[in-house]
Amino acid sequence: MRIFSLILLGFCVPLFIYVAYLDRVVVAQFEGKRFSIPAKVYARPLEFFVGQNISAAQVREELGQLNYVSKERVTSAGEFQQRGSQFEIVTRPFIFWDGEQAAQHITVDIDNGRVSRLRTSTAATELNLARLEPITIGGIYPNQGEDRVLVRLEQVPPQLINALIATEDRRFFQHHGVDPKAVLRAFSTLFSGDRVQGGSTLTQQLVKNFFLTQERKVRRKLKEMVMAILLEIHFGKEEILETYINEVYFGQDKNRAIHGFGLASEFYFSRNIEYLDIHQAALLVGLLKGPAYYNPRRHPERALKRRNLVLAAMASEQFITADTFTKVSQRKLDITPLPNRGQSLYPAFMDLVIRQLKRDYKESDLRSEGLRIFTTLNPHTQKLAERALSSRLDDLEKSKKLPANHLNGAVILANVPDGEVSAVVGGREAQYQGFNRALDASRQIGSLIKPAIYLTALAQPEKYHLATAIDDEPFVWQEPGIEDWQPQNYDKKFHGEVPLWQALAKSYNVSAARLGTELGINNVMATVRRLGVEHELPNYASGLLGTVHLTPIEVAQMYHTIASGGFRTPFRAIREVTTMDGAPLNRYNLTTEPAIPPTANFLLVKALQRVAVDGTGAALKHYLPASLGIAGKTGTTDNLRDSWFAGFSGDVVAVVWIGNDESKPTQLTGASGALTVWGEFMKSLPLHSVDMPTPADVKLAAVNTTNGLLAVEDCRNTFELPFHEKSLPQDGNYCGAQVPSKIKSWFKNLLGN
C-alpha cells in the first residue's frame, strides 16, 4: 500500500507542479495580453457652411468614401438621400479632437457649386456649421501587420454568437474548457475520415492562437487542454468569448492581417459588426476554418456551401427556425468589393504623417496604443492629383514615343493660409507603397531657383525694381579652380537689355546668372534659406541656375513662403492626436514667421504672374482663366532630365515634378511636362485668385510698352507695374499710373512670345 501511494505521489507531485506552472503562464499571458491596437489615421473632415464653394459631386464622393447608404427615407446614422443638388444626411456620431459630436440630421442645399442653405432636417432650424466624420485613410500597424477593430461583447449580434457556438463549440457555455463529448466525436471522425468539427472548444482555440505554435502533436494538444481548463477557472465565459471574437484570423489583405470579427465585417461587408445580417454572420463564422480556402471573393461557391453549413448547424441547434434557414440560405453572399487598401489608401501621404509623428511619439506607441490621428489630407484633391499625374504620364509617353513607364513623377499640394498639406502623390502608381518621390526624390531644380535671385534684387529697392534693365548679353563667369562658366539661354539667343520682370517671366539664364553674381551667390542662397529650404546649398555660380538638388516638398515649402506674402509657415500634415477613447493628447499649432520683406515679395509675385500670362508658363491659359492671376515658375534641367512646375493661386500652392528614376532624359520641359499635370488637377479645384494685400510703400507707375522700362518722358503707350516708392525717381519725374488696360496687349505683340 505504501509503495503504491509513494508511486502515486511521485507521479502527482511533478504533475501538480507542472500544472501550477501552466496556470501561471495562462494567467500572466491572458491578463498581460493587451491587443496591440493600431493607430487610426483620418483625413480632414468635410465641413459645411453657407457660402462654401463645393460641388454636389464632391459631397456625393465624400459620402461614398464614408460608406453612407442611400435610402428613400433617411432615419439612421450613415444614411443619406440626394434630390437634385440637395442632400439629406444623418451624420454618424464621432469623437473629434474638440469633443463628441452626436449624430445630426441635416439638409444641405447646393446651388451652382455653393452651399446656399444649411439646416436641421427635422426642426428646420438654420445651421451655421455642420461637419461629417472624417474618412479613415489608414492605420499604423504593429510590426506583424495585424489589424483589428476591437469590439465589446455587447456590440456583437446574438446570432453571430449563436453561429459560432453552433459551428465551433456547441457546449461552450456548459463545459469547463474542454468538451469530452466533442473530443470523442472528433476522435471517431479521425477514423471515419470525415472532416466535421474539430474537438477543440473555443477556449482551446484561443489558447492555441495565443500561446502555442501550429504543430499537431498529441503532447501539445494535452497542454492545450490543461491550459484551457485553467483559463476557464480564472476567467469568465464572456471574457473568453470576447477575446476570441477579437483575436481570430480572417485572412490577409496585402500587407495587413485581418484579425477579429470587428474588422472582418468591415473588410468583407463594409459594415459595422452591429449591423451584420444572419447570412453575413454565418459566412464569417464559416471562414474561420480556412480563410484562404473559403475566401468568398476567390472561391464563392465554396464559401456559400460553407456558409449554409453554418446556417444548418444553427438550425439544428434551434437558433433559427427551419423557415428562416430556408429563406436565409438562399441569399447571395453579399460581399462588398475588395477595398483597395492594404494598410493605407494613401501610402505617400501616410509616409509624411508617420515621419512627422515619429518626432513626437515612440514608434511602439504609434503601433499599439490605438491613437487617433487627425490629418490634413483632402481626399478629393488627392484623387484629382493622382489621376492627373498617372493619365498625363501615359499621354506624354505616347506623344513623345517614350517606352512605357519611362516617366515617373510626384505632386504636392498645400493650403496657402496655414501650410496644411492637402495631397501627396509619390509616384504614378499612387496606391502602392514604393519610393516616395514627393518626399525623397532629390533632383536638380533648374530655373525654379531663379525667383530667389530676383527676390534678393527686389529687396534692394534703391538699386532694383521690376523694370530695371538687365543685360542678357553673353556672360562669362571666372572663378579660380573651375572652368569658365558661360551660361546659355534655352533658345540659344541673347536678348540684349530686358526689364527684370521679363527676364524672370521668360526664364532667361544669362540675365539670371549675371544678376545673381552681381548680387553675390551667398546672398542669393541666403534668400533661398529664408524661403524655408533647410538643405545644404551650393556656393558656386552654377548653383544660381539650379544645380542644387531639392525634393518636391522642399520646393513646395519654398514657393509657399512666396504665396503667403513672405511668411514662412512650416508644413503640417497632422492637426491633432487623441487617445483611443477620444481624449485630446496634443495638437500641432499653426505657426508662421515673417521671412521676406513684404514689398519685395509682392513685386516678385507680379513677375511670377507674368510667367503664366506671356512667360514660359503661358500654356496655363488652356487650363485656368486669367482672372485667377496664377503665379508660377517652370523648371527644366540639363538634357531635359527634370520637368518641374511650381505655382499657386490665392489659396493653393502645388508643385509637380516629372522625371526618370534613373535620370535619363525625358524630352520634356517644365512647360511641356509638369505644367500640363499641374493645370490638369488645378482646373478641377475651386480656387481663389491671387489677391495679396498691397504693402503701404508700393506705388504704381507706367512702363513703356516698347522696352518694358520705366516711362519718364513719353507717357503714351504704357502699362502699369507696381514699384517700391524708393525705386521711383525721388523728383517725381516719371509717368504716373493712369493707363487703360488695353495697352497691355500691344506690349505683348511688340515683344513677341
Partner: protein
Amino acid sequence: MILSRVVYFSLVLFISACSNVPMVKQEPASHNPAVMDLYTAAAEFTGQGRYDQAKSSLERALRFEPKNAWLWYELAIINQLQGNYRDAQNLALRARSFTSSPKLITNIDMFLKELEARSYY
C-alpha cells in the same frame, strides 16, 4: 449675436486690463456666422483657460476666412497668454498684413510693443 458681442467685448476688456491695450471700437470679427460661432467659442475657451481648444476653434475659422485679420490677431493674443511671445509676435504681424483698418493696426502695433517689452525679460 448679442451674446457674442458681449463675450468678445469682455475678452477685449480682460486683455486690455492685462496689457494696457486701448479698447477697440466694436466691429464684428466677421460677417460669416460660422466664423462668428467659432470665434465666440474661442473667446469662451480662452476665458476658461482652455487655450488649445481656443486655438483649434480659431484655426478652424481661419480655414473658412484665411484673410481675416481678427482671427489671426486672436491667435496671437492666445499665444501671448500662453507665454509664446515669439509666436504671438509673428501671428500679430501676419494679422497686420491682412488689415487696412487703422484702428486694428493701432491695436496690433501696441500689442507688438507690449510683447517687445515683455520678451525683454
